[in-house]
Each structure stands twice: as C-alpha cells, then as structure tokens.
Amino acid sequence: MCTLKPHQVDFDLAWNKLVRTVDRVLQCEDVAKETWTDTFFTIYSLCVAAPEPHCGSLYTHVNSFLQQHCQAVLQRLDQVPDVELLAAYHRSWRTYYDGSSYLHRLFRYLNVHHVQKKQPSDADLCYGGMTRSADAHTLEVFELAMDIWYRMLQQLAPRLCPLVLAQIELSRRGVSIDGSRLSSVVQSFVDVVHWDRKRCLTFYTEQIEQLLLAQTAEFYAAEGDALFARQPVHRYIELVLQLLREDGERMQALLHPSSVDKVRQEAEQKLVENFLPQLNQAAVGFVEQEESTNLANLFQLTRSLPEGHKELRRLFEAHICSAGEQALATVGSSEPAAAAQEFVDGLRQLHEKFKAWVRGTFNDDAQFDRSLDLALSKVVNQLDAAAVSDSELEEKLSQCIGIFKYVEDKDVFQRHYQRLLSKRLILGVSHSSEAEEGMISKLKSACGYEFTSKFQRMFHDVRLSESQSSDFADAHGRDALGISLHVFVLTQGAWPLQASNTPFPRLPSPLERGVTLFQRYYTNKFQGRRLTWLHAHGTADMKLKFSRTYSATVGAAQAILLLQFNDLPASRTLSLADLANAVGVGEAELQRCLAPLIDCGILQADATGQQLHVNQEFHSKRSRLRVLPAPAKEAEKEQERVASQIQEDRKFFLQAAIVRIMKDRKRLNFNSLTQLVLVQTTPRFKPEVKMIKTCIESLIEKEYLTRSQAKLDEISYNG
C-alpha cells in the first residue's frame, strides 16, 4: 500500500481515520509509532491525491477541528471557579501548546505544500499591508492552532487577567506564589500571537502590561508614602534600593522582558522621583558629613532618572570647592616657598580624596569625573595666580604636573617660570640640570613644543656659553688675564632680561681687559653678532685677605666697590659719593649693594653713614661667603612689569591668531571669529571677549581686516 504515486483517495474515509490520531496528538496522549507513520502517510496521500489533491478541504477540516477543541476547553474552563482557574488554564494551555507543536510536525507535508506556497513574501507582509490568516490558508498548522487559542483567550481574558495581577500583588506583599505557573500563563499571551511579527506584543501589552503598570504605580505610591513617613531618609534609600532590586528580579521572572524596564520606571517614579527634593535635601547632609555609603546608595537610586544626578553633582562640586578653599586658606600665610609646597600638596590631597569618591561612591561616573575637574580648576583659579607663581612652585610641580592642567593662564605661568629659571641658570643654583630638563619635557608634553621652546633655548645658551668660555680661556692662555672669566652669551628675546640695563661705565682693569678680549674673540668668531653686556647680572668670586683668607661670591657691582679699597692704605675711608662715582650707579642701587657688605661686617660705616672703610678685624666662621646684593627691592615693580609683558604677549598672540584664522577663512561672522579665536587660545590662556574685540578693532584700524559694508557683524580679510 505504500506507494508514493498520486492516486485517488476518498477524503471522508481518510479524514475519519485521521481525526482520532489528531485528537490524541493534540491531547498529548501516546501514539504508537506505526499509527504516527500511517497518519503522516495518509496526510501525504490526501495532499497529492489524483485527480484533485484534497489540501484545501484537509486544511478546512483541521481548522474546524481545532476550533471545536478550543470551544470545548473554554466551556470547561468557564465551569471552573476563580480560585482554580489559573491552575486549570495553565494545564490546558501547556497540553494544547505541546500538542499543537506535535500536530505541526504531523502535518508537515500540508504546511510545506499547501500553506507555504500561498504565503505572501516578507516584503508584502512588511510593506504591502498584507496579513496572514486562517481563512486564506496562509497559517501553518501550529500558527493556526495558536490563532484559534488566541480567539478563545480573548473571551477568557477578562476573567483571567485580574487573577494574574492579584497573584503579582500577593507576591509583592511577600506571599509566595507559584512563579513558574504564573510566568507560563503570562507568556501564553505572547505566544498565541507570536507568529505575527507586527503585533506580537500588542495583545500582551493591552491585556496585562497596562493593567500591571497602573497597579504598580498605585502600589508603590502608597508604599513609598508609608515608608518615607516611618523611616529616616538614609534608611528609606536603603529600603527602596532593596525593594527595587527585589521587584526587578520578580518582574524578570514573571513578565516578558520588554516590560521589566517599564515597570521599574513606574516604580522609580513613585518611590524616587516623587521624593527627589527631599532626597536632595538629605544629600546636602550626606555630602557635608562625607557619608559615602549613603551617597553611593543615593547615587545608585537616582542614576537612571534623566536629571536625577544634577543636584547631587552640584553638591559634590560645591563641596570640593569649599573643601579646597578651607584646605588652601592657610596657604600663603607662611613664607612663599613653603606655601607653594603646601599649596601643591593640598591640591594633590584634594584630588586624591575626591577621585577616590568618584571611583568608589559614584561608580566612576564620567559626569562626576567632570565635576571633579571643574571644581578643582575653580579652586586653582580662585587663588591669586601671582601669589602662587611668584614662589618656587615649579620645583614641586614636577611631582604633580597633573594639577598644572587646571591652570587656565598658562602663559602667566610660562612667564614666571622663565624668570625663575633664568635666575637659577645664571646664578648656577639649580639642584640638577637633569631635574630641570625633566620638568621641561613634562611641560612640553602637557603644553606643546612652542610653550617650552624658549626654555630649551635658554639651556642651549648656557651649554654653549660653557664651551665658549673654555675655548676663550684656551685661546688666551688660562693665566693671561689674571682672572678666570666666564661669559654667558644669551639669545636676546629668549631670556627675560632687559637689555636696556646700562653697563657700568667703568670696569676695574682686570675685568675691563677680559671683557674687551672676549668681545674681540667673539666678534671674530661670529661675524655680525652684537654683544650687549649686562654687567649688573654678573657675579664675581673674590679672595679676601684678612687675618685669614676668605673666598666670597659677590655681585659685579660689589666686586668693583671692594676693589676700590684694594689699593688704599688700611683705615682710609671712602665716601658714598666716591663709591657711586667709581661704579657709576645711582644711590639706591649703591645702597642695595653696600648693605649686605656692611651687614656681614666686611665694610664699616662711620657714625654719619657717609664714610666707609674696610673692617680689618673682620672674622667669620665660614671660609666661603656669599654676599650677593639683596634681591631687587622692586619686586613689585617686577611683578607689574611681568604682568604688562604678559598683556602685551597676549595681544600679539590674539592678533596672530585672528590673522591666521581670517587668512584661512577670508570672511567670517564676528561671533564665529570670536569662537575660533577662543579655541586657539584656550590651551594657553583664557582671553576675555573684550580683549579679542579690541584686537580685532586694532587690526581693522591697521587695515588687515575690514568690516563688511552690508553686514556690520561680518569681518573680512584684506589679503
């Protein structure tokens, strides 16, 4: 009988034979293997029957068979009382679901040769507005079964859904429920329409999710009010976190994954967002007391709210600022060098501490990291820049260049650094040149080549000068001069020294000779270079012969002063006027040079203070003396000078930036020009808009730029 050839089949006869197996399969009852094969073959022969295949009527019969089955299930369930309905429904559904999938396999031939041929393409489904339906014979058997159950479930849902929700509420109140059963019932709402991609979740959403969301809101609103009234805020936060975590797990287990977030949002809105003002108020206390556990909890609680962190971030910033102010308030009271050390250490501690907060409490949140940066730069820039940079900040900075990035006025820093570096280099008081160069390379990596090019030029000059001085000494014979002369040849412009410092009109003869010889040597070697002597910056090492011999390092002017006494008989005095005349400096400068010499006892003044003589009884424990003139009293003037130089530099820098930009763009709106200039300058300093404006105006005045005739806020480049 097993022939695959199409032949005539009596449909009714075959169906009657078939229907019993179908029924058993659908109820998940045992079917013998032969019966299964036999039935499968019957279906095949019906589908290929000659002269006409019976596919159509077979499909119709299956359809109506399933409908009858579901109708029967519905009638049975209608009889079941509410308490048992969930269990009963669950049982029938599981059986039906499994049975349908077996049935699907049994009717595989029908699926492949009848249904699939009729099915519209995916494109038609998606864009052609076509749907698949039982009537059009475009649902495969399993899908057909689901569709029919779906229709049945629609009638049952009004009774079933409230029961589902009641179960969830029970679970929320802490009563244990049969989770897997409930989850399976809920899932059936999705499964029955699963075949239809377009509306697979609609039924579930309408019947369960919406109701659940409403119920959640109601439940947690009441819960939140009750909790908040009973518990202190920090405890409330803990409890709510726990509630949310538990509910999240519950929903994960019971619902379709798409609902979990929605339910959580609903709960958070009632439990967190509604209490946000109170929570933020409490946060003030947490931040002040630095209660990191509570803060971490609060952070976790508010993290998913759209603007939940804003207030907390603000508090965090404010707290860092005030902590910074407190920590650094004492700085500056003591002497400058120590103050700088304190300042830097204080900053490092602040940074470390609050970085740890960000890492631990705020889960490394990028926005909080930014807040930290913001707050610290506020702290750094609030302090008087001059007060800080005047002291020897930079040496300590080598340990924590990280703080340097918070300084906005990098050009101010650059100026002061240059000034101090030049002092160190000329007086040779650096700790080590390696440390200096290490610092410069750090600055270079932080601010770029241009920033440190002058510093490097300075080092270069010092190194070259050393070799030149020894060359010079070799050329003239080491002892020919009677003194050893070391000349720094410094590039003008790279050093913060003023060339206008007048040279001393009269140098003592050994110096005079050395200077002339060097000048000749140098101009011979480098044609066309001009040397400007800055005598005032020089130092001299001298031997002083009293009862024993001392060696003293003194300033150039002081050396000249002392030499005046050299040829005189002991106890001869010289008047201030004589001395001033000999050196050729003003009275103030003279006093500045004399004061240390008198203080250390080498020179003595008479009662009037006008006549000086050498103290023949001079005595000191040390044999090496360092009697440099007191650092210029015009420190304030110097500050002013530096400040005005910085202003000048900024103007040039801005004008150069403006011209660069305009050369490139030719025509720009005023505001965009300002923005572009800001972008270019910010790495160096933060110019005020007003300053940019003044620079643009002066460029207009110099006719590099023109204001457009038609649009008054448009600037164009006169190229």
Partner: protein, 271 residues
C-alpha cells in the same frame, strides 16, 4: 566756540586779492558750447578768485573766514559743513579751485547770495521733516526720504575723513565730539536720542581713549539706529556682539549712570 568745521581766529595777514583770475578763467572757458553755462562758470571762477589767496589757486583760512562773513554764517554752522561736503573738500579750512568750483556747480550757485540760498535749500531738503508730515500720501515721499537718508550717510562717512588731520587715521575726541554734534543736524530724522549722552560721556574722558577710529565712527551711526529701534532701551544691548569696544564701554557706563540717577533718565533719552 566749537572748532568746527573751520578754525577761526587764524591769521588774517593776507588781504583778499581778486587778481590773477581772468587768465585762469580764460583757460577754463575753452570748449563750452553753451553761452549760459559759460557765463555761469565764469562767474563761479570770479567768486573763487574773490576769496583765493595770493597764488590764486586755493582758498585758505582767511578766505574761508571772509566767505563766512559774506554768507552771514558762523564758521561752525552746519551749512558750511554741507558746502565742504558738496565741494568734496579734503581738508578743513581749505578749498582748492577744483573743490570750490565743483561745489558751486552742484548747488548750483554763481554768486554769494545764490550760494547762501542754495545752502539754505540744501539744508531744508536734508532735514525736510515738516514736508513729510504735510504730505503723508505723496508717493514720492518714501523714495525721497530714502535718498535723503543715503545722502546723509554719505555726508556722515565723508565728515570723518574731512575731520582728519593730514596723515592721521583717527579723529581726536574733541574734534569727533564737535563733528558728531554738527553732522546730525543735517539728518532727516534729526539727532538720535542717544547722542547727548554719548557726547557728554566722551567729553567726560572716563573712557581713557584719545581718538575715535574710523570703525567706531561708522558703527556709531548703526548703534544710534539700533537704539532708536530698541526704543532707547539699552538693556537689550549685547556686549558680545560686534560693536566696537568704545561703544561697549559707553553702554556699560550709561546703564550704570541711569541706574544711579533714575531722574535724569528721561533727559538723557529724550534729548
């Protein structure tokens, strides 16, 4: 006495000398076809020669003074500025032959009385507010006032160049104040409300600026218009816009002043 537009009190050493004219006039008569025009041109030459200095090719300070006297006008009168503008004069207190003849031709005027009436008419035309009110439905009024405004803008722009000392690029504050005061007299809509406050602030010297740049001069007109458009309200002024910084400073000072002395606010804005 304001120093504009012609410095008075300068030397009067030189006597007026109406000589040296005919020869030059002959050369100018060359190809004039129209007898009438030729006669006009001739009388303009004569008029010029009447005030020109000894060399006969330029009217200098003394000549200008005499001209003012004959016109019956103060040297600081707006009408003399108009004359200089019509002549496209390049320098104060000076008219070259070409400049003077050009001005007379434009007016047109060939004798001193016609010159005076011509200037009166020109000023009336430039101001012209009353006419506009009389004939609001006249179709030409808008186009007319528009062209008057264009003419005023030309006058305004030219006034700055006129005020410059030779070789300079900026106008000293005192000169700028006087010129501002003067030039707006010829404006169809009259001096802007903000002008008195602006000028008194400039005179007070609190700005630390010694001279006005061409850009600031030009932008002040736009600023005055913007003030009118804003109804005299400075609070909407935005410092970050493209206004020159001198105007920024003024607005800041003005807002501070108005805040301190609310009683004077009306005076300042209503002037």
């Amino acid at each position: 006495m304001p120093r504009v537009p012609f410095k008075s009190g300068s030397s009067r050493k030189r006597q007026l000398s109406p000589v040296a004219g005919p020869k030059a006039a002959k050369s100018c008569r060359l190809q004039l076809q129209d007898q009438e025009a030729a006669r006009e041109a001739h009388s303009r030459e004569l008029l010029f020669n009447q005030y020109a200095d000894a060399g006969g090719c330029i009217i200098k300070a003394a000549g200008v003074e005499a001209l003012c006297r004959d016109l019956g006008l103060d040297p600081a009168d707006i009408r003399l500025l108009l004359l200089a503008w019509l002549c496209s004069a390049g320098e104060m207190c000076t008219f070259t032959r070409d400049e003077f003849l050009r001005g007379c031709h434009r007016l047109p005027a060939a004798c001193i009385s016609r010159l005076r009436t011509g200037l009166d008419d020109k000023l009336a035309y430039m101001r012209c507010r009353s006419q506009q009110r009389d004939k609001p439905d006249c179709g030409d009024v808008n186009a007319d006032s528009c062209s008057r405004e264009t003419e005023f803008r030309d006058l305004y722009r030219w006034t700055f160049e006129f005020g410059l000392e030779p070789g300079q690029r900026t106008l000293p504050i005192a000169m700028a104040v006087d010129l501002w005061q003067l030039v707006f007299e010829a404006r169809p809509t009259g001096p802007p409300a903000i002008l008195p406050a602006w000028l008194s602030w400039l005179r007070s010297g609190g700005h630390g600026v010694r001279a006005v740049t061409r850009d600031t001069w030009r932008m002040f007109l736009a600023f005055a218009d913007a003030c009118v458009a804003a109804g005299g309200d400075l609070s909407a002024y935005d410092q970050s816009e493209a206004w020159p910084s001198l105007i920024d400073d003024f607005v800041e000072a003005e807002i501070r002043r108005l805040g301190q002395q609310p009683l004077e606010a009306d005076d300042a804005c209503g002037g």
